[in-house]
């Protein structure tokens, strides 16, 4: 070898494969303002649609008069439910097996509900038209409190199904009841509670919040009357599902529907579902023959399309007096709003909430979830979490702290005592899941050592004593959270969306010069797929990541996939990528064997090509193999080098992590300061550590926002409050704490590259860490559980309720 021969390290580095902190290739356009979003799509003759919305939470629609609106200059059409009925689209199916009004049909069921769709030559004219539509309402009593939804005298919300005894998920108990979902063994759980030394029970509410991506939901629909083809540009996290759903409900042939998701400015679950805006824009383009754009504004986004959470969870734990858990019982009252439009796999009305046993070895458990209707916006999406997993993690992590408090045990010690042990994996949980791998003790101990946990507790004890002596008005909280996620939906045996199995896919097409293009059924909304997918391929087939172009989001070119949400892209699409790449490598190996004149089994893979075992100088690189594959393949072999893989995962993956939050709270104002936040994540094999760190930073920031302030709140009349960024807490860089990140690596045994997914872990684990810190801060004053969000005034209220606020105002 001469000096010019690259070393193994240089060859590895040139690939920028898995494990490399490769810079995000998509940032070249994003940082220059050159992204291409839906609102950048401008088609010739394009019209604009916008909604007349209901000011009432619950009212009968007596009449809609569109005469004056149609006289407004620029207004071309006004769609109402009556118009939509002519094409059988006044209602649409939801992902959860319910139906939802596209436009108000006889009544409105939540404030800001879509009542009419005005189509005009520009957005100004459309808004003028909206103001000219005359709607006569007869107000009805609103139902806002989910705990009153099933009262005998509760108003009937859904007249369309008021006599239906069965819903999509079994029997209904009341006219406002949607479903009851039960999991686990009730008798064994009851028995465990009957003989428990110690029991805790607490109502733990997770407030209604909203994913609030910076780009709102929007689409451009364009129908070609000559060819009968419908093209939809939209902010879709799952473009193929949209294509199939449109084919099914609009009765259009699927090959004539083209769905394109261009760059997406954040999704966080908000862009999984189907919304009235999409249907109305599609109908409007078919009616007018012109492209129609619909773009939500911020208030519409926050108040109508897809809230998240709104789970009221009554958690009970049974334990021995020395702190070994023996049973878990949870009841959830789930507020779904006016329609059940949850974006869960269809057979899972409460998503994967049955991960609620968390990281602990509960011998028995029972779970029941009741879904109810209220006069609020529909939704229930997975806001940066796998379906209802963040609710479950919050529930169990809060409950474990409450148990620790009752036992007088340290919360970290209680967790260590009850963790599933490494040798128990694969672990079968009491509520039916098979956890793939984990080493919880190592992660927890590393977190405790790094943060010097015992010293923090000593400092806290000293501060508490000083507070009691009246020397300070500041209290200190230490929040411990240990979460287990369940991501990668999912195995077709238990996951589908409206019958569409939740596989994912990848097609790789290599070009003769050693470059290639890879297309997936996933769809990045900021996750950096263009960067990381190429890294997987680079490692698998030895072609530099820079030579692989990644494309997503065009249903005409990408293979069918179920999209990106629920941290499913790496577990499912990531596996498909590895499998497709391995098909490429298998063909490349046949070519190399022929060219090197040896049997295939005599070759070994070496970074970027094949080498004859024992003869290191006999080597054929992948770049050369690409050329040979097209131009001089072995006799009898088809030319070309491409592969497609559809991956149906055998199991979910189970990322986990240990988070510790240290917070100081000024009791006189409720102002908090996050002094320290340490996040250890184990997401299995790490593809791009820089992107993982970015994902963790983003997820923690959203968790911080949720725990410390976010809330979509309704008053008694059903007026939605918090519908703007003035009130809905979106922290700026100024409010956001500093994040310390760390990791352990426990690969998934069933995933081709051992990766588990990470995007949502920090939200799932972060919310309980913040909330536990606040609750821990107040616990020495006698608090057991303080509901989120922990904003200033609620912290102050907690202090006042605990008797440590005295003064003129406090007595009021």
């Amino acid at each position: 070898m001469n000096d010019m021969t690259p070393t193994r390290e240089e060859r590895e580095a040139r690939l920028e494969g898995m494990g490399c902190k490769r810079k995000r290739v998509e940032d070249v356009r994003f940082t220059q303002g050159k992204g291409n979003y839906v609102d950048d799509v401008k088609l010739p003759g394009m019209l604009h649609g916008d909604f007349v919305r209901s000011p009432h939470a619950h009212a009968r629609v007596k009449s809609i008069n569109t005469e004056k609106a149609l006289k407004v200059p620029g207004v071309l059409a006004v769609l109402t439910a009556e118009t939509l009925k002519t094409v059988n689209l006044a209602w649409m199916p939801t992902l959860a097996g319910d139906v939802q009004m596209v436009l108000a049909d006889g009544k409105v069921l939540f404030q800001n509900q879509e009542v009419a769709f005005v189509v005009a030559t520009d957005r100004y004219a459309a808004d003028d038209g909206i103001n000219a539509v005359e709607v006569e309402y007869e107000a009805l009593p609103p139902l806002i409190d989910p705990f009153k939804a099933m009262d005998a005298d509760a108003p009937v919300l859904r007249e369309d199904i008021k006599d239906k005894k069965d819903g999509a998920h079994g029997p209904r108990k009341h006219h406002n009841h949607i479903f009851e979902w039960t999991v686990g063994d009730k008798d064994l759980t009851d028995a465990a509670f009957n003989k428990a030394d110690v029991k805790i029970k607490e109502l733990i509410s997770y407030q209604r919040v909203h994913p609030s991506p910076l780009e709102t939901c929007q689409c451009v629909c364009s129908f070609d009357k000559i060819t009968g083809e419908l093209t939809i540009y939209g902010t879709f996290q799952a473009p193929h599902v949209i294509r199939t759903v449109v084919a099914l409900i609009a009765k259009l042939p699927e090959q004539k529907i083209h769905v394109i998701s261009p760059d997406i400015g954040g999704g966080f679950g908000n862009k999984v579902g189907a919304y009235p805006g999409y249907i109305c824009a599609a109908v409007a383009t078919i009616v007018t023959g012109k492209p129609v754009k619909w773009v939500e504004d911020r208030m519409e986004n926050l108040t109508t399309t897809s809230f998240a959470r709104d789970y009221h969870m009554t958690a009970e734990i049974a334990a021995t007096k020395d702190g070994k858990v023996t049973g878990l019982r949870v009841h959830v009252l789930a507020d779904h709003g006016a329609f059940d439009a949850c974006a869960d796999p269809s057979k899972w009305p409460a998503g994967f909430f049955n991960i609620v046993t968390g990281s602990y070895d509960f011998p028995v458990s029972h779970l029941a979830v009741d879904g109810v209707y209220t006069n609020k916006a529909p939704g229930g999406v997975a806001y940066r979490c796998s379906f209802r997993v963040t609710e479950a993690a919050y529930c169990i992590e809060r409950a474990m702290d409450i148990l620790a408090q009752k036992l007088g045990m340290d919360p970290a010690e209680l967790r260590l005592k009850n963790f599933i042990r490494p040798e128990q994996f694969p672990y079968h949980s009491a509520l039916g899941w098979e956890y793939d791998s984990g080493d919880y003790h190592t992660a927890m101990k590393k977190a405790m050592e790094t943060t010097r946990y015992s010293e923090l507790r000593q400092e806290q004890a000293a501060k508490r004593a000083a507070f009691k002596r009246g020397e300070t008005r500041e209290i200190m909280g230490i929040g411990v959270s240990f979460f287990t996620e369940i991501v990668g939906a999912g195995p077709s045996k238990n996951c589908d969306i409206l019958g569409i199995a939740m596989f994912d896919s990848c097609e790789i097409r290599m070009h003769p010069t050693g470059a290639g293009v890879a297309r997936m059924g996933s769809k990045s909304q900021g996750q950096g797929h263009e960067t990381t997918w190429a890294q997987i391929i680079a490692t698998e087939i030895g072609i530099p990541a820079d030579n692989i172009k990644v494309e997503e989001g065009n249903t005409d070119t990408a293979p069918y996939g179920l999209g990106t949400y629920g941290s499913r892209s790496t577990p499912v699409a990531g596996a498909a990528i590895a499998m497709a790449a391995r098909k490429i490598r298998a063909k490349a190996q046949m070519i190399a064997a022929y060219k090197l004149e040896v049997h295939e089994d005599d070759l070994e893979w070496d970074i970027d090509g094949f080498r004859v075992k024992g003869l290191p100088e006999k080597f054929l690189g992948m770049k050369d193999i690409c050329w040979i594959a097209y131009n001089t393949p072995p006799p009898g072999m088809e030319p070309g080098l491409e592969a497609v893989s559809y991956y149906d995962p055998p199991n979910m993956t189970y990322p986990f992590g240990a988070y510790i939050c240290v917070m100081d709270i000024d009791v006189d104002t409720g102002v908090y300061k996050v002094r320290r936040f340490y996040a250890l994540d184990d997401c299995g094999t790490r593809i791009n550590p820089m992107i993982i760190e970015g994902q963790v930073h983003g997820g923690l920031t959203e968790a911080f926002a949720i725990a410390m302030g976010q809330e979509i709140h309704y008053d008694k009349e059903g007026n939605v409050l918090g519908g703007s960024f003035m009130d809905f807490f979106l922290p700026t860089a100024y409010e956001t704490p500093h994040w310390e990140t760390d990791f352990t690596v426990t690969p998934s045994p069933h995933h081709p590259i051992g990766a588990k997914g990470v995007g949502e872990s920090p939200n799932v684990g972060g919310v309980p860490a913040f909330s536990n810190a606040v609750n821990d801060a107040f616990s020495f004053l006698g608090a057991t559980h303080i509901q989120m969000p922990h904003d200033h005034w609620r912290n102050w209220k907690a202090a006042r309720d605990l008797g440590v606020i005295k003064g003129a105002g406090a007595a009021a």
Binding site: D297, D668, G670, G722, M726, H792, A808, G809
Partner: protein
């Protein structure tokens, strides 16, 4: 979030602006626009004519006039922060300006817009009352001056007559060595105050010699807390005096409940802001 139609005018002189306001139907002056334009996008305000004041040089800038500081109404918050005159004579104005919104808004938002809109959430009105500022206004009937303490009549209701424009603010510079503080509690950058208090005082021999206290967003208008200030004059700001001041301030507050908290919370933290502003101002006084 789409405004209705309106006509836009950009006069080059104050006389022209006054004339346009007097003659055009349903006309409103436009300063920084950070209150009016969002209202127009929500169609809560639907003026037919917008009179943009940005073209009028006479409305801009900061100058000294004897013992007074004169601030043109169209001076932006950013310009206040960059002004050496303000830094020297009225540092409390800069402290307050810095907690208004964010840098982008401060590049556009004007001091005149902040005080003239009558929004109880704005930070400058309480400070202007505390400083004893005089507002100079001009309309078709001529020019006149209004004390800041007489200006605010209710939420969005002020002593400005229809067609009148605020042209400048005149503030007597506080004595050298005065202490000052603006304590603002807010949920995040860009938010209006949950509660805020302005304090300007002088100390003499370890005791408070003079003191004025203003309150932001704790009533329908900004408030001057006269009794609270009286409660600390002549004291060394001991615990009892601070408590008396907070109680006297709380007594005149009538905050609304909103996303920032219920009235009892906002009143209590209003008292806390007064206490902390007094302490910080006293520490600064020489």
């Amino acid at each position: 979030m789409i405004p209705g139609q309106f006509s836009y005018h950009r006069p080059a002189s104050l006389a022209e602006a006054v004339n346009l306001l007097a003659t055009l139907e349903d006309a409103r002056p436009l300063a920084g626009g950070h209150s009016l334009i969002p209202m127009m996008k929500l169609r809560l305000a639907t003026p037919e004519n917008l009179i943009d004041l940005h073209g009028i040089d006479a409305l801009k800038g900061v100058r000294r006039d004897g013992g007074n500081i004169i601030i043109g109404a169209m001076t932006t918050q950013h310009e206040l922060l960059a002004s050496d005159i303000i830094a020297t004579a009225l540092p409390v104005l800069q402290e307050t300006s810095l907690v208004i919104a964010d840098p982008q808004v401060r590049y556009m938002g004007t001091v005149g817009g902040n005080v003239a809109n009558g929004d109880p959430g704005n930070d400058m009105p309480a400070l202007m009352m505390t400083l004893g500022a005089i507002y100079n206004v001009e309309g078709k009937g001529g020019a006149r001056s209004i004390a800041a303490t007489d200006f605010y009549q209710g939420a969005y209701f002020t002593a400005l007559e229809p067609g009148e424009i605020l042209t400048s603010i005149s503030i007597a510079a506080p004595p050298a060595g005065h202490g000052y503080a603006y304590e603002k509690l807010k949920r995040k950058i860009g938010d209006y105050a949950t509660a805020a208090a302005a304090v300007v005082l002088t100390m003499s021999g370890g005791k408070v010699a003079t003191c004025r206290i203003g309150l932001t967003n704790l009533s329908e208008t900004a408030l001057l807390a006269v009794a609270a200030a009286q409660a600390v004059i002549g004291t060394s700001l001991d615990d009892a005096a601070l408590k008396a001041a907070a109680a006297a301030a709380e007594a005149i507050m009538s905050p609304a409940g909103d996303g920032r908290g219920p009235p009892e919370y906002r009143r209590y933290v209003g008292g806390v802001m007064v206490t902390r502003a007094l302490q910080r101002a006293a520490q600064r006084a020489k």
